[in-house]
Amino acid sequence: MNAFDLTNWIADAQVEVVQRIQRSLVMVHNGRRGAGSGVAWRPGGYLVTNYHVIAHGRRHHVTLPEGQDLPARLVAQEPEIDLALLQVEAPHLPPALVTDSRGLRVGQIVMAVGHPWGQRGVVTGGIISGLSSAQTQGKRGSVPVIRSDVVLAPGNSGGPLVNAIGGVIGINTMIIGGDLGVAIPSHLVDLFVSEALGERMEVAV
């Protein structure tokens, strides 16, 4: 295989990964100015975004990938790790593929997808730069975070960080972890969603 075929092959795979996640990507409005990103996490229109995106807002609404605008209900929030769970009446919105973040390694290719500065569906790429922890202001004290060299801007907040197969490994936030963008690992996000939806209650004991 020559170098041109190889780079084309990689580029095609990258486009496929981006298209896969964009089917589950939404824009989140808090009824005031500014907008953030969000991603469908569970069937039934359950979306994850950053807490700070919806904080202080009243009439949350969400723009779906096809452009449809729907009112959103706030299901749960956890300010300490900057997460919120919303629901919209969009039963056919496909949840994103979620990859467990506990097996991540430094050097993995990642892409952030979101709406920086309000521009829709923007993709930025890079690698996982570090797996460390960040201080929080709350009872946890510190949480594991994913650091990457991906360029993030306001509007990326609440959007997914995906790996090379398009699996969501974290939710981007610019609130904790200092000036560099970090992502909240997907296993923490999934735990937050499970608890909010009472999924653990269904397990018989």
Binding site: L6, W9, I10, A13, Q14, E16, V17, R20, R105, V106, G107, Q108, I109, G126, I127, I128, S129, G130, L131, S132, S133, R147, D149, N163, A164, I165, G166
Partner: protein, 301 residues
């Protein structure tokens, strides 16, 4: 299906590169603020940036497994911002240098270990290859690499590696007023070798003050080559190698050991450690005519 995509294969290759090179990327604790990084050049030798080694004792190096080792300074080359540290006992897994020179456009990773939380990395390409350049520290760097990989705080002294985890260069922000450059591995290894042997870099000494002057077309034809400028000697130190060899104020140096010399940087570059103590032919224009003077080059103190 997607698991087998080429992007994922590239991703896995980069994880492996970080793992390979990360095993030889160590934390260097030798300054007051944030620790920096270093590269295991030999089982008991760590190459790092000179500017991050602010003290000569109470230096510690942290290995990837988290164990801390005491280290001493084996040698310094402040001009090129390199320092070699010696561990008390052989401990580190040794870095592998890349077999060929870096090329512009090549995919590279910058690595660092400024904290105990683990290896850190950023991705980029070789943006430019430049040099020779006079460093902000009084040295002359024959060649340097520029990359767009993010130099995170504490990355100075750490490696720039290829996608197989082999060392392409040593990153430092100490050479160009805070901008991050990489010293090519061939150069860095050469200096490390000299530091291991002598503790410092030997440089040649002539004992002249000079300034570049244009060479007239008539003088160029007398030289038999096109050379627009040479170095006019405006001072010859008494007792210096230059005086001993017979160089005079007013001579225009045009070549050393057969290599044309057109400006002060080229003069400095020609006075390497290898010429120290050697009888070296210096071509000058004296009274407008070419002449060759033999000078035994001294060592710079």
């Amino acid at each position: 299906m997607m698991e087998q995509n080429p992007l994922n294969a590239l991703s896995e290759a980069m994880v492996a590169a970080v793992e390979t090179a990360g095993a030889a990327t160590l934390l260097v604790n030798a300054r007051r603020r944030l620790p920096a990084s270093g590269i295991a050049y030999a089982p008991d030798l760590v190459l790092t940036a000179d500017h991050v080694v602010e003290r000569d004792d109470e230096i510690t190096v942290m290995l990837p497994d988290g164990s801390e080792k005491a280290a001493g300074v084996a040698g310094r080359d402040p001009g090129n911002d390199l320092a070699l540290l010696r561990l008390g006992s052989p401990a580190a897994s040794v870095a592998m240098p890349a077999p060929q020179d870096a090329r512009v456009g090549q995919l590279v990773l910058a690595l660092g270990r400024p904290s105990a939380e683990g290896i850190q990395a950023s991705l980029g390409v070789i943006s430019a290859i430049g040099g020779p350049v006079r460093t902000g520290r009084g040295g002359l760097l024959e060649r340097y690499l520029r990359t767009d990989a993010i130099p995170y705080p504490g990355f100075s002294g750490g490696p720039l590696v290829d996608t197989a985890g082999r060392i392409v260069g040593l990153n430092t922000s100490g050479l160009a007023r805070g901008a991050s450059l990489a010293i090519p591995v061939s150069l860095a290894w050469q200096i490390a070798q000299a530091l291991e042997k002598h503790g410092h870099i030997q440089r040649g000494f002539l004992g002249v003050r000079s300034q570049p002057v244009p060479i007239s077309p008539a003088q160029q034809s007398a030289l038999g080559r096109q050379q627009a400028s040479g170095l006019l000697l405006v001072g010859v130190e008494s007792g210096s190698p230059a005086e001993g060899g017979g160089l005079l104020v007013g001579d225009i140096i045009v070549a050393i050991a057969g290599q044309p010399v057109a400006d002060p940087d080229e003069l400095l570059a020609s006075l390497t450690g290898e010429v120290v103590g050697k009888a070296t032919p210096i071509q000058v224009l004296r009274g407008g005519s070419p002449a060759t003077i033999t000078v035994t080059i001294g060592a710079r103190r």
